[in-house]
Symmetry: C2
């Protein structure tokens, strides 16, 4: 099996996981700076998804670091399948959460100022942007592992 960049256990996969962890943590941070998010179901959904993504990415970050350390790439079919499936579900959830947050923020901005003061709304927007970046990296991880899967 040739080593495709981004496949589980490689240093590029480590970089992708690190990016996912950083962007999803940033998204959660900007959303939770204020407790106002409880009022909107889209924002609660984003917080829930980010909780899942951070734990998933951190776990795989540790797996990647360990694989790089012992210089061995995991090749078990079932293991790669689980990782690919998890990445796929989480990337869809990330995109859904990011788009929901972005559209709700857009609606709140166009509505009355009392619903969404300027600094609060830009915080929600940054959160949605970070979620989109996390989705992009998560989707890349998923597609690379999915590409590898038929050859296993």
């Amino acid at each position: 099996m040739e080593e495709l960049p981004g496949v589980l256990g490689t240093s590029s996969s480590f970089a992708l996981r690190l990016g996912q962890t950083v962007f999803s943590s940033a998204s959660l941070f900007f959303m939770c700076l204020d407790v106002d998010f409880y009022g909107y179901s889209a924002f609660c959904f984003l917080v829930m998804v980010m909780g899942l993504v951070i734990s998933w990415s951190t776990t795989l970050l540790v797996v990647d670091a360990y694989s790089i350390f012992i210089k061995s790439v995991p090749k078990q079919r079932r293991f790669i399948f689980t990782i690919t499936f998890g990445d796929m579900v989480l990337s869809y959830l990330l995109l859904a959460a990011a788009c929901s947050t972005a559209s709700v923020t857009d609606l709140l901005r166009s509505a009355d100022k009392s619903y969404c003061p300027e600094n609060l709304c830009s915080r929600y927007q940054i959160s949605a942007a970070m979620a989109i970046l996390a989705w992009f990296l998560s989707s890349a991880s998923c597609l690379i592992n999915f590409w590898l899967f038929p050859s296993l």
Copy 2:
């Protein structure tokens, strides 16, 4: 090349494309029954995406019907790549549009009744549900063609 169900040119692919066309047309129909959607950017986004998806799915429906008719499955690498890439982009756009519509509708329902009378809001909800079904089928098409791609 073994014939995987759902691969371009097979009858199951025809069924998937037909489903996508039907669900996306239904979603567009329920959204455009009233001209109120112009007021919300999420709804305009849905209408734009549905326009793209309907034309894409109808074209591939014709390609599938022709392939079934002449009993030959297209196997050109570049052609399958274009189809897979288009399906992937459209499935992401569909999910984004569906989630944006669903979250905006949810927000409008929880807000004042004047923003969203009961029958209008349920129409938006049906539109979002149809978009999710279209996404599901589009995503299946994309994954099946992507699975096949490394073996070409």
